[in-house]
């Protein structure tokens, strides 16, 4: 399942080419407000999908990990309000932020290695809510309820990070790189071991692999991905607040992953686009107060119609005519 066929690569290149040419076609609002925003939240959703698809873990801690990166870059940001005692250049703050998320991811993995399924869900949810509450109550570092403002990001090519095209291209590049990284990693022995662990951890151990170490590494990698998303989200929102990493944000990113489909990394971005479109336009086609009703109904509709998300729906429609995957090397006897 993890082998990408030539047609997949062609499709990937085509989609990338279309996305690269978007600044020529779309107004600025669409570029950063819809596509850019989908990409950066899609990155965090990608970290959920990676763990779910190849490791068999549903982690609710990924938004928290994005938040750890976001708060790190905000605390270290030279432009931050309130001004920080420990301000450094953005070029140093960004890698430190991603590093912090990676390490935090490993810690989540360390806590999570002995649990699975509903228990993992509960533990990661508790971590996420706990961190959000901690950020809200801590004034010295996190500036409490108000959070940290004016985290504008570095200048690129003489333009502010906030410039629509700059933000869009940086998000697109990073999203594409992380997406390809996931596709690459799952084909390496590390990725194969991970999938083996999902299928049968005892068997993988008997083949000489340390299951715990691989699980922790998978969570660290997911933390790295979420951290990259978290830095971009903080720049996009020009700051970070406890509310932006709380329960609602956690559920939103999970919803993106699920409606897109947990079966393949691309589902994270498909889900993020759908979510962002509904989030943005629900108010105009429907009463703003009923926005959550609408997204709830869409979520329900997709999950009922296709338990494996939009991705599964597409696959089922495409596969109606021809049988895929099975039996291209003779029939089993």
């Amino acid at each position: 399942m993890s082998l990408m066929s030539r047609s997949h690569w062609t499709l990937t290149a085509l989609v990338l080419a279309i996305l690269v040419s978007m600044p020529l076609l779309l107004p600025d609002f669409w570029l950063s407000g819809i596509l850019g925003r989908s990409l950066i939240y899609g990155i965090v959703a990608l970290s959920i999908t990676f763990l779910a698809s190849y490791g068999g873990f549903i982690s609710l801690a990924q938004t928290m990990l994005a938040g750890i990166a976001g708060y790190t870059v905000a605390i270290l940001a030279p432009t931050a309000i309130p001004a920080s005692q420990s301000a450094v250049s953005y070029w140093l703050a960004m890698p430190l932020a991603v590093l912090a998320a990676t390490l935090a991811g490993a810690v989540v993995g360390l806590i999570a290695i002995r649990t699975r399924d509903i228990y993992l869900l509960m533990i990661t949810l508790a971590l996420a809510v706990g961190f959000s509450l901690f950020a809200q109550s801590n004034i010295d570092w996190f500036n409490g309820y108000e959070g940290i403002r004016n985290v504008v990001g570095p200048e690129l090519f003489g333009q502010p990070f906030r410039a629509h095209t700059v933000f869009y291209y940086v998000s697109l590049t990073l999203a594409a790189l992380l997406y390809l990284m996931v596709l690459y990693v799952v084909r390496t022995p590390f990725g194969l071991v991970l999938q083996g662990i999902r299928d049968n951890p005892r068997r993988v151990a008997a083949l000489g692999f340390d299951v715990a170490v691989h699980r922790i590494a998978a969570f660290a990698m997911a933390g790295f991905i979420a951290g990259c998303g978290g830095v971009l989200i903080t720049f996009y929102n020009i700051g970070i607040t406890p509310g932006s990493i709380g329960m609602t944000a956690t559920v939103n990113v999970l919803v993106m992953s699920v409606i897109g489909g947990l079966g393949h990394p691309v589902g994270a971005f498909i889900g993020a686009v759908i979510f962002t479109l509904i989030d943005t336009f629900a108010a105009t086609i429907y009463d703003r107060d009923r926005f959550n009703t609408l997204i709830g109904l869409v979520f329900l509709g997709i999950v009922v119609a296709s338990p494996d998300g939009v991705l599964g729906l597409g696959k089922r429609l495409a596969g109606r005519g021809k049988r895929k995957d099975a039996g291209d090397g003779g029939t089993p006897h």
Partner: protein
Amino acid sequence: MGGRLEIDDLHVNFGQAVILQGVTLSLDRAPLSLVGRNGMGKSTLCHAIMGMVAAKKGSVTLDGRPLLGLGPSRVARGGIALVPQGRRMFPSLSVHEHLLLVAGRTRGAWTVERVYETFPRLAERRRNGGNQLSGGEQQMLAISRALLMNPRIVIMDEPSEGLAPVIVDHLIETLRAIAAEGMGVLLVEQNMRVATSVSDQVAIMVTGRIATTMPARDLEADRDAQRRYLGVSHGH
């Protein structure tokens, strides 16, 4: 390659149930078959050697190095590979991915190329999923997966189970070839024909103990012993 596996007075309990009560067995250059009826503790012995179940008492050593308590991953890296009963493929990995998973971690006689040469059928099915294979193909893949670890000792838990007779013949040839190269083979079997074709010595397990070890030729000739220990009137 090869090594001396010594099992001494090994006891394993599952809760109150006593499964192994003092197994003593040693394996050296020559392959050894272990036979016995269902529920006598054969698979538990395999799992105990691998560290997949905890032993209550006793010792397992490979070339004098104690293995008990190391845990399955370190026992495996120490040079013991298990081909588990029921094959246990990974449903989401293809044949080729199964091999890549273990290949390249050890140096030795077995490589992915050699596996494909030895089992051309696997090369044909390299892109098929582990669960899309026939029983015989799965067994070849399970054995290949173990061989690619280039172990000193390979333990096979009922490899002939559920296989067609013609595939069983191929299996016997394969196991003899592996043993002839010097890899230690501990073969757990219920199929008398496989057990006696692969090794000259056969150990018989009865209620968690090795009741006796006898030459395969004698066991083949002794219908009475077969009936007593194995509940079969003849090899099938």
